[in-house]
Every structure is written in structure tokens, then in C-alpha cells.
């Protein structure tokens, strides 16, 4: 892994704040910088995008708690996090930016933990370029974080994607968790090897309960028409899928993890079916286009959700479910 140190923060701060390294050296709080870097965990290995995202999220959390440039803490934390990923061969795509702002601000305020952010971030990482030689000034030896950020092993085609573990589902309402489960079943039923946004939407239909599907009902969207059009859009795969069916990369992962910022935007860290529905619009694919074609455009769904009172009910269900799972 290539780790960052205080001198790197000076250069990054100088660049992102547009003040140059000289002024950045004058303005940086070196003690805060040291404290922020020291808070980053030191895992033994970072075998995949989640591990890289977790290291980045913890680094950003440290920088938000101990800002080396106190007047610009969020900007600098993001810039440093992006650079940390970049020097280790990872490229982040944090679009749409207004969603990333919500996630960063929630991390800054402590409303979400670094691990929560890591789940969101991991789905937005790619390793597009071959990692070149190590930065000459950065090495494992003597580095603060000493995290070996190795190129992730290329996974077998059928196994690519993200599993949804208990930690992630602990934030989901019962209906939302059921929709994720049913999404896998839908992918299997249609002979597909991974879960795409369309399968997740089919999962919401199969569950048939929750404020997400209720919002579609209020908009007059026919469940049957939606199901039929979704199935037509994705078609039937070759089948023969054995083993775990995971969320595809990048589409499935992006939509699944986009439910978190949708929840945060509504003032909760718990994920209901309506957040899974709103997350569909983070992907410009068959699912969101089919929804729009049936009258459930993003704006109309958001308006409907704002007017709905059923959100509280599902959140109460969520809290009970979370307590039970913990």
C-alpha cells in the first residue's frame, strides 16, 4: 500500500484550496494532521474494493474529526480520500455529487460510521489503470498506515459482485430485506448470474408490501405491467447459476448502496423499500426507464414519497427488526 503522510496533506491542501504548498504549509495544523493519519486503521490486507473503501472512509473520518485545515475540513477530507485511493490504483466515481455531499456530511456529523460509508463507496470504486511503480516517496516501510493495498485478484465471472451481509441488512426494514432476498430469487428464476437493478425492482414487486410499492400504487403504476415490462427488458439468461447470486458490478451495487444516501436525505439511516425504489433512479437503465414509461418518473415518485405518511410505519418496523437482529 502507498500511505499518505503530512507532507502529502500539505500538497493536497495547497492544490484543493488553490493556495499552493507554501501557504498550505503555513496554514496546516500538523498536530491535527498527525492525529487524523494515526486514526486510520491498519488492516493486514485490502483484497478488494470494500477494503480499499473502508481504509479511505476511516482516513476521511479521521480528517473530519481532526481537520488539518479546519475551515475546509470536508473539501480536504474528500480530496485526501480521493488521492489516497488514486495512489493505490483505485478510481472513485462519486456522481451524483449532491448525494456524495450528503454522505460526507453525515460522516462528518457522526450520523453514519466509516463502515457505512465504505459500503456506499465500495460500489463506486474501480481499478481502471494498471498500478504503476510505487510512488518513490511512499512505501510500506515506515508508513503510517502500513496497509498493503494490493491489486484485487480478478474474480471469476460468475462470482463478481457484492454480497449483502448481515451488517448491511441490519439497517434494512423487514420489507426491504425481503426485497433484497427476492431480488436474488428473481435473478435465479430468470437465469441470470447476478442481481441487477431490474431484479431488485422485481423483488419489490414480489414482496408487494412497504412504502415503496405503495408509492407506485398511488401513482397508478400497474404492478403486473411493471413486472412484465421489466422481464421483457432483461430477458431470460442461460440459467444454470449455482452458488451465491450477488449484486452486479457496477449497476446492482450502485443502486443497492444508493439506498443509504436516499435514507440519509430523509433523515434516517434505516433503509425502507421506498429508499430502494428511489435508488433505482441512480441508474439510467431499463428499470428506471420502465418506471418512467409507466408514469413513475423520479420527480413524481419523490413528490409522492414526500406526501406519504407510511414512511414512519415502515421505519418503526425497521427499528424493531434491527433490534431483533442485533
Amino acid at each position: 500500500m502507498t500511505a499518505l503522510d503530512v507532507a502529502d496533506l500539505v500538497v493536497i491542501g495547497g492544490q484543493v484550496l488553490g493556495i499552493g504548498t507554501g501557504a498550505a504549509l503555513e496554514q496546516i495544523d500538523p498536530q491535527a494532521a498527525e492525529a487524523a493519519l494515526a486514526e486510520a486503521p491498519v488492516p493486514l490486507s485490502l483484497p478488494d474494493s470494500y477494503a480499499a473503501a473502508a481504509a479511505c472512509a476511516h482516513l476521511m473520518s479521521g480528517l473530519l474529526q481532526h481537520p488539518p485545515f479546519p475551515d475546509h475540513r470536508e473539501q480536504v477530507a474528500v480530496a485526501v480520500g480521493l488521492q489516497f485511493l488514486a495512489v493505490n490504483g483505485w478510481q472513485a466515481d462519486l456522481d451524483p455529487p449532491h448525494v456524495a455531499v450528503i454522505v460526507v456530511q453525515c460522516l462528518a456529523s457522526g450520523r453514519i460510521e466509516p463502515d457505512d460509508m465504505a459500503m456506499w463507496l465500495a460500489a463506486r470504486l474501480s481499478a481502471p489503470a494498471a498500478r504503476g511503480a510505487r510512488m518513490p516517496h511512499l512505501s510500506n516501510k515506515g508508513s503510517r498506515m502500513r496497509l498493503p493495498l494490493h491489486r484485487p485478484a480478478r474474480r471469476a465471472r460468475g462470482g463478481a459482485g457484492m454480497s449483502v451481509d448481515g451488517r448491511m441488512l441490519a439497517r434494512f426494514s423487514d420489507y426491504a430485506a425481503a426485497a433484497v432476498f427476492m431480488a436474488r430469487q428473481e435473478a435465479r428464476r430468470l437465469g441470470h448470474g447476478s442481481v441487477d437493478p431490474e431484479h431488485l425492482l422485481l423483488g419489490l414487486i414480489r414482496v408487494g408490501e412497504g412504502n415503496g410499492i405503495s408509492a407506485l400504487d398511488r401513482l397508478g403504476v400497474s404492478r403486473e405491467a411493471l413486472r412484465r415490462q421489466l422481464e421483457e427488458s432483461v430477458g431470460h439468461g442461460p440459467g444454470g447459476t449455482y452458488g451465491p447470486v450477488r449484486f452486479s458490478r457496477p449497476r446492482g451495487q450502485k443502486v443497492l448502496t444508493s439506498a443509504l444516501p436516499e435514507a440519509l436525505a430523509q433523515g434516517t439511516t434505516d433503509i425502507c423499500t421506498v429508499h430502494l425504489l428511489l435508488a433505482q433512479y441512480h441508474d439510467d437503465g431499463p428499470a428506471s426507464r420502465t418506471l418512467a414509461g409507466l408514469g413513475a418518473t423520479e420527480d413524481r415518485v419523490r413528490d409522492t414519497v414526500r406526501c406519504a405518511t407510511g414512511v414512519d410505519l415502515e421505519e418503526r418496523v425497521t427499528r424493531r427488526a434491527r433490534a431483533a437482529r442485533v
Partner: protein, 84 residues
């Protein structure tokens, strides 16, 4: 850490810092200062400036940084409060 930013007599501003160094590093710093007939502060300041300058001249580091910042300019603008 104690630090103080001062501006005096037309020269560039300076900042007082207290650096916590391990004993070995502090002794080496003092040794260099003694041999070269300079103050420990002078040597430390030069070392820090050299370290930052080395980073600044690292082309790959700079390129990656500029690429990252350019791709996420709107996000950074939003975080700065430049956009509604």
C-alpha cells in the same frame, strides 16, 4: 502543540510550532545543526520544506491529484458552498 503565526517587517509570515520528535531523531537533528553551525530550528525547517517540495515535484502524485480533483470538481464546489 503550540503555534503562533507572526508577520513582521515585510518578511513572509512565520509560524511557531512545537514538534514532538523521538529522542533519536532529535539527537540527529541537533548533531547536524552543530556540525553545520546552524540552529536546530533552521535544520528542521529546511527538512520539512524539502519534504513538501519532494511531494510537490512528484509528477505521478500531482497528475493523480489533478485528475481526481478535476473529476470531482462539482462535489468539491458543493462542499465549499459555492453552489446552491
Amino acid at each position: 502543540m503550540a503555534e503562533k503565526l507572526t508577520r513582521g517587517g515585510g518578511s513572509s509570515p512565520t509560524k511557531n510550532m512545537v514538534l514532538r520528535l523521538d529522542l533519536d531523531l532529535a539527537e540527529r537533528l541537533a548533531g547536524i545543526a552543530e556540525v553545520e553551525g546552524r540552529s536546530v530550528s533552521d535544520v528542521a525547517r529546511e527538512a520539512i520544506a524539502a519534504l513538501v517540495e519532494a511531494r510537490r515535484k512528484d509528477k505521478r502524485f500531482r497528475r493523480l491529484l489533478e485528475d481526481s480533483l478535476a473529476r470531482h470538481q462539482r462535489l468539491l464546489d458543493l462542499l465549499r458552498g459555492d453552489e446552491p
